[in-house]
Amino acid sequence: MSAPVPTFQEFYCQTTGSNLNAGSTTSDTPLATYTSDLVSGWNATTGVFTVAGGADPVADGVTAGMWASIYVTAGATVATFVAKIVAVTTTTVSVALIGQHGTKPATDLLGGTTMRVGGAWDGPSGTVGFPFGFATCLTTDWSAAQAYIVGDVVGNTGASGGKFRCILGHTNQAPPNATYWVAETAGSPRVNIKNGVTYAITSGMTHGVTTPAIGACIFSGYTATPGDGGIAIFDGGAPATAYTMLTVSVARIVIESLQFQNNGGGSPGGAAGDGIRVTAGGSMVRKCIAKTMRHNGIYLGANSQAVECEAVECNTRNTTSGGNFGGITLSSGGARAVRCISHDHTGGVNAHGIVVTGAGVVDGCILANISGDGIFSTTSGVSGFTSCDFYNCRHGINLAAGPANPTVACIENCNFLKGSGYGIVWRANTIGTLLKCSFGRGTMVNASGDISVTEPCGIIEIGTKYLTSDTTPWVDPTTGDFRISSSQVVAKGRGRFLMTKSGYTGTVGYPDIGAAQKQPS
């Protein structure tokens, strides 16, 4: 037996490619380019593209399973329809029509349509956001009313689920009927954006392509091999009024290994000025970096996840106009930040590390060198802050005066050092826990105090620890190395498990206090 391994259908962006390509290979140029002929041309009903001029797709090496971009030749700048090739003859290339990227062009018998097979996209540039706003999940939900041809891909929202590819044209034959459908083993599309050259944009990119119930789409930076973690950089320039560099307004999208830097100045509206702005639930921002943003670095306005991200130099405007801003903002019940580092936000007291305005969890995050608060929370819901480090912020966690309703906050296994304010500010009417947290002393003390409490405040406090004067729990926070190293916090965290059943010996854990658990010796 073995752990599951995902598969992806890979697409590629590199600044030397062309956005008219199919995006399915790493070469700048397509394998072949064809014009539709004047007899059979491009048939938008059957998906058959008949090539003009004696070209021979077979001889060119075109095969089923490759991807083709088909577009109206005149005026084309970016691909509008990219589909999987299902059949090839010496004169035709047939593509699937359902569950493909974009919208198929109209039938054409005038030679006005072009097909490109393969080739990489060149990606976003200037005001062009492509392939954001174009790439889809490569599936659509099955419909009884839809006529399907061979190669079409659907998601089965019925009880048996799954993704299926049509093997016999028909209407109203629900999957998994084996006469018409076969399980689609090809994974979700992953758009691999090659790094090395910065993608310079001048306006916001939006990904709002409607997602089907079943399906996902991944946008991922890379260096040499898809998924290798190489980070591709997008630079927003220095416009007078900042804009949000990427807005994701649909579900089940993953933004991965991308860096967004610089988005201008001025006084943008509250929803503008962010690096990445996710407004739909069920999406993930992973291994992304947001740097020098006018407002938020990463904004989750729905129950989505920010995982293993970095935010630096955000809310440069130091404003509260239009909202509270910081490196990462969790603005929805269920939104969470995990293993993120938010640091060096130096715009002023309003430049926070993480802002929480909805019920959420912050786990394993590092907040450091922040002129605002490490975590600034106005939520009236429940929030959990676990295994985090706060160093050289104003307040470490500021449960700021917000809504009148009480709130629940659980803080555990966190370190609070060298704040210019308090380690934690508890607002009135908070109930929660404070379990096994440590506070600095000497030069590492939080200047205003460990904790500020506005009554009534009901917190279960257990095992608060005060570090030896002038010491930190980490290797060297001044250089950004927050690996836990001090015996003062190693295995000193909260790890209690309640076990009342007679005869059971019980379980106990010994986590470190802080984010980056020490490596066992």
Binding site: G187, E455, G506
Partner: protein, 498 residues
């Protein structure tokens, strides 16, 4: 009031150093360094007519109102018929129970004392619980100063739903009701908390906040009912053990039916329905346990249930829910964050979800469940899911039966059993689109588990192959932060790396 403690190098007066430098197996007492409370006490030898504000069975003083000024419900002045409150030691900031003498069984009004003279006691009309009895000059009112309550018994649920958030001392400290343990609080009716907080209700053994649990024990016969039903918001229930709630039906042991409550250190066992339930409301569960639940074998039920986006569950344990095919450890819906939870020895699934949007399972263990370790049922969409640093060992079907509609998210640092510890059907069964980012997942050596003695309930991590082997990567490119990396264990209860 704002307190700034620990300023500079020193500790403020009254501040005590933390007790804990190690994680003990049992509950650790609070060190109460930074938080203060308005304490009330429940002990079965007390009286529910007392004010509840001291831990003595008898009140400090008991008075009948005079026939002259008597009790004035508009001013809160209680003139005593006899006795001298000053001489009796009654003082400002104590609490007094004032009630209609005839037929009284439980307190109906408790207020903070704001003035005392040799003939009268004045109570606040705002720092109170309950409703002041009507004005009386006929000697028909009684005042008790202090004394512990007797607490719930039979069909009496007092004072769970009596204590109000307003009943605070002069400093404004939150009401904290301490239920003394030692003898079961035997109930025959549901304990409902419909008032909003913030109020804390918590068990203790000898000293408030020492972690001792009080037990609410229901019947083992008859139609089941909810053991504790929280229908108000902003309440913190801690250190409670709920046992038994009937013999028929499928009522929950401890139900949260209103938003924004916190449950800490609560165990529920041997109940007909779900053990501990966030019943479609936002809330948090920390260090709770549920075993022997869902004896009715009701579908989509088990030890712990959570079903509202934004809720989180930390270090909770669901085990030995063994009612049959529906004896699940955890059931859930929507968007929940699970950290360091353990589900073991259940006859159904370790974890069964339905129609989720956004789920995280971080550092959790799934061992020897009769069906799947994780079973993502229901729904009809691809979901966002992160499973990180979890163990799946010896489950009766799949380690993970993924959703039929696919996933995006993160799947990293997970381990599966092999040999005699293998999951019977497969480590994982996936369906397209299975689009999670997968890193550092593998199997243990044959026949081993990562834990000390799981068959005897000790799932503390001991295996070297699990220690420090989890996924702990950070992404950072600026100002040197890229050097940070974590080495978490795989599983819930971290091995000591001291």
């Amino acid at each position: 009031m704002t307190l700034g403690l620990g300023l500079g190098l020193g500790l403020s007066s009254g501040t005590r150093l933390g007790l804990g430098s190690t994680s003990a197996a049992s509950a650790e007492p609070n060190n109460d360094t930074h938080f203060s409370f308005t304490d009330f006490y429940v002990q079965q030898t007390g009286s529910n007519l007392n004010a509840g504000s001291t831990n003595t069975d008898a009140p400090l003083a008991t008075y009948t109102n005079s026939a002259v000024l008597g009790w004035n419900s508009g001013t809160g002045v209680f003139e005593v018929a006899s006795g001298n409150p000053v001489a009796d030691g009654v003082a400002v900031d104590m609490f007094a129970s004032v009630y209609v003498t005839a037929g009284a069984t439980v307190a109906t009004f408790v207020g903070r004392i704001t003035a005392v003279s040799s003939t009268a006691v004045t109570v606040s009309l705002t720092a109170v619980s309950g409703t002041p009895p009507s004005t009386d000059t006929a000697g028909a009112r009684t005042m008790r100063v202090g004394g512990a309550w007797a607490g719930p018994s039979g069909t009496t649920t007092f004072p769970v739903n009596f204590v109000a958030a307003a009943m605070v001392n002069a400093a404004g400290y939150i009401p904290h009701v301490n239920y003394k343990n030692g003898t079961d609080y035997s109930m025959t009716a549901v304990i409902t908390r419909s008032l909003n907080g913030p109020v804390i209700q918590r068990g203790y053994t000898a000293t408030p906040r020492d972690g001792g649990q009080w037990r609410v024990k229901g019947p083992t016969t008859g139609a089941s009912y909810i053991g504790v039903n929280v229908t108000g918001s902003y309440n913190l229930f801690a250190d409670i053990d709920v046992q038994n709630n009937g013999a028929t039906g499928s009522a929950t042991g401890f139900a949260l039916a209103a938003t924004t409550n916190l449950v800490f250190g609560v165990s529920v066992h041997e109940v007909r329905g779900r053990g501990l339930e966030l019943n479609n409301v936002l809330g948090a569960l920390v260090e709770c346990e549920a075993w022997g639940c869902n004896t009715s074998n009701t579908t989509y039920s088990g030890g712990i249930h959570a079903a509202t986006a934004g809720s989180f569950v930390f270090r909770c344990l669901a085990h030995n829910n063994r009612s049959g095919s529906n004896g699940h450890g955890i059931t859930m819906d929507t968007s929940i964050y699970w950290k360091e939870c353990i589900s073991a020895y259940n006859t159904g699934d370790g974890y069964q979800s339905n129609a989720d949007t956004n789920v995280t399972l971080s550092s959790c263990d799934f061992y020897n469940n009769g069906a799947n370790g994780l079973n993502f049922t229901g729904g009809s969409t691809t979901m966002l899911l992160s499973i990180v640093n979890c163990n799946f060992v010896k489950n009766g079907a799949n380690g993970i039966l993924f959703r039929r509609y696919g996933e995006v998210g993160e799947f990293a640092g997970n381990r599966f059993g092999s040999g005699t510890m293998a999951n019977t059907t497969a480590d994982a069964t996936t369906f397209e689109p299975f689009s999670m980012s997968a890193t550092n997942n593998s199997s243990y050596a044959s026949d081993v588990t990562p834990w000390s003695d799981p068959d005897n309930g000790n799932l503390s991590i001991t295996l070297a192959a699990a220690a420090g082997a989890g996924y702990g990567s950070y992404t950072a490119a600026f100002n040197g932060f890229g050097t940070t990396v974590a080495y978490p264990d795989v599983g819930a209860a971290e091995k000591s790396h001291a």
